[in-house]
Subunit: 248 residues, 2 copies
Amino acid sequence: MATSKASRKPAARKEAAKAAADAPAGPDHAREPSVVSRITRKLEEDIVLGRRHPRERLVEQDLCENFNTHRGDVRLALFELEKKGIVQRIPNRGAIVRDLSPGEVTEIYGVREELEVMAVRILPFPVPKDDIERLEALQAEHSRAVDAGDLLGVYYSNVHFHRALFGLCGNRCLIETIEQLAQKVSGIRSYAHANPAALNATRRDHVEMIEALRHSRRDDLIALTRRHLKPAAQAYIRAYRQRFGDNV
Amino acid sequence: MATSKASRKPAARKEAAKAAADAPAGPDHAREPSVVSRITRKLEEDIVLGRRHPRERLVEQDLCENFNTHRGDVRLALFELEKKGIVQRIPNRGAIVRDLSPGEVTEIYGVREELEVMAVRILPFPVPKDDIERLEALQAEHSRAVDAGDLLGVYYSNVHFHRALFGLCGNRCLIETIEQLAQKVSGIRSYAHANPAALNATRRDHVEMIEALRHSRRDDLIALTRRHLKPAAQAYIRAYRQRFGDNV
DNA sequence: CAGTCCGAATTTGTTCACAAGATAGTTTTT
DNA sequence: AAAAACTATCTTGTGAACAAATTCGGACTG
């Protein structure tokens, strides 16, 4: 085994653990604009837009040529996407775009509803005017993308709107968890995108949400949040049953 | 699509007939008993038991020698732990055991409470007798570990108990999310372990929870679930303030 | 004497080549 | 001719060398 170069150094290692005395609030080595995150994001986009369908194979070598990089990076990106629940990796056989059963989708949306309702329940009223205006700007962007038929724009502006909305609750862990669960169902996003009526409903909900925020009407906001999640799951389940029959 | 590099090598063919003789763990599909998961689990144990303290550096080479493997595996394990939120990776500078501020801990426990309450709210009553008995067995194990002062045993039996309890709710996504959040605070688990009174309180809560399950008293169960989470967060925050002062 | 700059040692990050596993197509045997 | 086995090829997984980045220590200069 690897005794070739194992102990090049004397066993005594510098005790680095005792630097703990200073303030804990790290400077937040913020973003990671690296190659692997670029691949991750691009793959996610492809999946969201339906350019890659569930159960499609993701061959490392192909992706390398596609992204002009080498397998190491692609490999890491696939591991990352696996943890996000967007792709599924089978040992020694590679990765495929994950296919969710209606049951799984129902479960995920159940948890999402609980968490998003929690977010709007704890967010402090009244909402500062600046925040309302920021939300309106994001909503306008979303609306524009819907009109233009720009699906990628729809996707991102929708993500940004919800990030800003739930961001108002102030609980970072909650925000992260909500986004994580939203990413899990990326693979079925294309079903909602295919339906213009659904896109319009989404837009209308956003407007009403802002209105509820402006007037500090919490009950309305909660009801809207619940309603907002329903169509996406239902659209997918309908499409799934149509393809595979009702045996679920 | 062999564009650039395609090193087809027709020579490699030392196919040693069939190695079908060894079939110890046949399917091997679902589980991942691989090297990297072993490293991940062991590191997590070390952190939970306080063998590695927050802000301590995790040097890849050291871990390699420790686990008799090479850096590729260790690297993946660290990436995995980073995603779990147990360690923090700083670009080009390596990984350290993550240090949580009281604010973060409070937020995480807030979300945990919401999700765990959801689990006990949706779990179907009455609970089958077999499940009750399984919980009692796990609780007995936990109790034994507490009496024996076996901290590793306490940790694992506690994990198993809660996995079984929340598993009753039937929502896989919810279960996974709950466990994920529990793992995030692994680093502060050692504070609870240091306190025998807290361990006894935990044990008592488990007994009462089983009782509530047996008699289908949902309100009691919810109240117990809320109460059960409180002490751990409070113990950590107290310890933290004692070390760094009240400026939080 | 203080401050800065350069260089060595340590540690992480990248790359490439090879080996093992799996699938599919072809051949051989019954 | 059908079934089983073998081979050829594709794909993932592993290991180790190489390269870039950071930190720490010492020397040099203002």
